[in-house]
């Protein structure tokens, strides 16, 4: 119904309603633009059903990741039980071929995935902000070379590159996975942020800052980046989603640390023990479903932020303001 579609304004409940001033307008209320954007996003999440579902799901995963011991009492790594037990009240998902409780593995595995999602998501977005905003704001030769670099990285297929790097490193601990994913996958976001920053470049409030004699760094950090808060959150969500998928894929093909408790590693062991063929489908189904649901939570949330952060939507609003004044 109310899908946020790039370039098209939809009359959704979280659409550009209310008396909000154009983002970052110099005559705005006292609240800094970042806070205003955040409160607007919170409102959007509440009013958009899909976003609410996403937020609730993500909240549940975060709680599970913070306090796994409250839900699963077993040690996820201990080979404490008979192997290949079926589903029962004692073992909600059965046990692995090594006699580990699968439910405990799924629950404790949440933490690893969330760490990767948040750290890699934040780091990727951070690099993208640096490159994208710097390119747009510095312009000239800087813009040319940074954009070219971004475009090149954008067309090189990331996943094979990840595989090759991880193979040379002989698989990776969580930190290595995060590093590798961050280094390779910031380009798309950087491109998005650059075009957004370019569209801001000639706005009055930035001209005002320049006239005030503010330094470039100050303008970028205090004036430009806060106006892009909603887009930044959307980018973070996308990057977190891809970090989850990439990391799980690498762990699945055996390029993670096989001793980590995580969903991708569970899938790796399931594949290695032919879990599907030997009548233990839960070993592969459960962690895969968790990845899918966590990913869906990120994707659904992204919807709401897309709606507010969509530069096309915003430009529609801006022209309307201009026409009115």
């Amino acid at each position: 119904m109310s899908m946020p579609i790039s370039g098209v304004s939809t009359a959704g409940p979280a659409g550009p309603a209310g008396p909000e001033p154009a983002t970052g307008a110099p005559a705005g209320p006292a609240a800094p633009p970042a806070t205003r954007a955040l409160s607007r996003m919170a409102r959007a999440v509440r009013s958009n059903r899909k976003a609410t579902v996403g937020a609730v799901l993500l909240g549940i995963f975060i709680l599970v990741g913070l306090f796994p011991g409250l839900i699963a009492h077993d040690n996820p790594n201990a080979d404490a039980y008979a192997p290949r037990l079926g589903i029962s009240t004692a073992h909600l998902l059965g046990t692995t071929a090594y006699g580990q409780d699968m439910f405990a593995q799924v629950i404790w595995g949440t933490r690893n995935v969330l760490i990767i999602a948040f750290v890699a998501g934040l780091a990727t977005t951070g690099i993208a902000v640096l490159v994208g905003v710097a390119a747009a704001y510095l312009g000239g030769l800087w813009d040319g070379s940074l954009s070219l670099f971004t475009d090149v990285l954008l067309v090189i297929p990331i996943f094979p590159l990840l595989i090759v790097i991880a193979a040379y490193l002989h698989g990776g601990t969580t930190i290595v996975l995060i590093l590798v994913i961050t280094v390779t996958s910031w380009s798309y976001t950087a491109r998005q942020l650059r075009s957004q920053a370019l569209s801001l470049r000639n706005r009055d409030f930035l001209a005002a800052a320049r006239v005030r004699g503010e330094r470039r760094l100050y303008i970028i950090v205090v004036e430009v980046i806060p106006t892009m808060t909603s887009l930044l959150v959307a980018c973070f969500l996308t990057n977190a989603l891809y970090a989850v998928l990439f990391a799980s894929s690498l762990q699945f093909i055996g390029l993670g640390d096989p001793n980590t408790v995580s969903w991708g590693t569970m899938l790796y062991w399931a594949q290695n023990n032919a879990a599907l063929q030997t009548g233990q489908p839960m070993w592969a189904i459960a962690p895969g479903a968790c990845i899918a649901v966590l990913g869906a939570a990120f994707a659904l949330l992204n919807y709401a932020f897309d709606e507010i952060g969509n530069p096309a939507l915003r430009s529609v609003r801006r022209t309307r303001v201009k026409r009115a004044g």
């Binding site: 090149v152 094979p160 002989h170 998928l245 894929s249």
Partner: protein
């Protein structure tokens, strides 16, 4: 024309950077992984192959990095990728030659199907905006985009391969009962083995097509010439296909070229789940067997394939769509 040259220049630059990354990676890694590999295979290789490896990865040589780089580039352009470790003594080139057609067939067919079906669904769902199809498709895609490729493949194996016994799910053809030939039975065997992996690839990639086509269509439907067509009283079908879809489809093509990297990564994982004897499965075999020459060559092959596809899509768009030419 200027546009085509610029794109070609960008393509060459990217190609060069990919080649250089491939060259530098093993040399930059801590503890030189190639050294470990060479010592692992030391007894099994003849001195000549060993020497070729040492040149390839820059170990035990007195030559400068620059000299190594020139030799490496020369080898790449003459198609000399050395000897495969895991398929010794076959050359990397012949090993890849055996795998590439499986992938081309699988990914090619699945991609064409995904394009036709996805674009069609996108057109219809945008045309009947707010209709039943339109309210179902985008949310389904949102969920589907978050599902790991390999997991879709595993679920298909579980349902159609193991539970229902409908379709084979291991390899490219039945190795024990069939030999590669031009017979119809072999052909049918290959086809039945390709169905599940192709379905997995189709399921995971079609969403991008549907959604991008739908978005492009919605933008196009708001154009004045579409309104004009409506005012002229043209039949809806004609407006939908000849006016809106025709103009919306080309940007969609460019968008897809950019997402080709994802199709490739999906194919790698799906081939792995099905033990499908293509390039992706071979890449992962090379990784687990520490067969770095094969791995390097496969990485280059995949990268070049994606770059060429993007270049073709770019040039095709420029030829067919005057708007991009003026914009460039």
């Amino acid at each position: 024309m200027r546009f085509a040259f610029r794109r070609a220049g960008f393509f060459l630059l990217t190609l060069w950077i990919a080649l250089t990354i491939n060259f530098l990676l093993p040399r930059l890694m801590p503890g030189n992984p190639a050294l470990a590999m060479v010592s692992k295979f030391h007894g099994q290789l003849n001195p000549q192959a060993l020497h070729a490896l040492e040149i390839l990865f820059g170990i035990n040589t007195q030559t400068s990095l620059w000299q190594q780089y020139v030799t490496y580039l020369h080898n790449v352009f003459t198609g000399n990728f050395g000897t495969s470790m895991s398929f010794y003594p076959a050359s990397v080139r012949s090993v890849i030659g055996g795998a590439i057609w499986w992938t081309v067939g699988l990914v090619g067919v699945a991609t064409v199907l995904a394009f036709v079906l996805g674009t069609g669904l996108g057109i219809v769902s945008a045309w009947r905006r707010g209709g039943q199809l339109d309210s179902v498709v985008p949310p389904v895609f949102v969920i589907a985009s978050a599902v790991p490729y390999f997991w879709v493949a595993m679920v298909l194996v579980l349902i159609f391969g193991i539970s229902l016994h409908w379709l084979p799910y291991i390899g490219g053809y039945n190795v024990s009962s069939d030999t590669p030939s031009l017979s119809p039975s072999y052909f049918g065997d290959v086809l039945s083995h390709a169905l599940l992996p192709a379905a997995a690839l189709l399921i995971t990639t079609i969403g991008t097509w549907i959604l991008t086509m739908r978005n492009a269509m919605i933008t196009t439907l708001a154009e004045d010439y579409v309104r004009m067509a409506r005012a002229k009283g043209l039949p809806g079908r004609r407006i939908m296909l000849d006016y809106a879809a025709r103009n919306a489809i080309l940007p969609n093509l460019t968008g897809f070229a950019m997402s080709l990297g994802f199709v490739v990564s999906g194919a790698i994982l799906i081939e792995y789940v099905f033990n499908y004897p293509g390039v992706g499965y071979m890449l992962l075999q090379a990784v687990s067997g520490e067969d770095y020459p094969l791995m390097q060559a496969l990485f280059l092959l995949i990268t070049v394939a994606v770059l060429v596809a993007i270049l073709i899509a770019d040039i095709a768009t420029a030829l067919l769509d005057p708007r991009t030419r003026t914009a460039g």
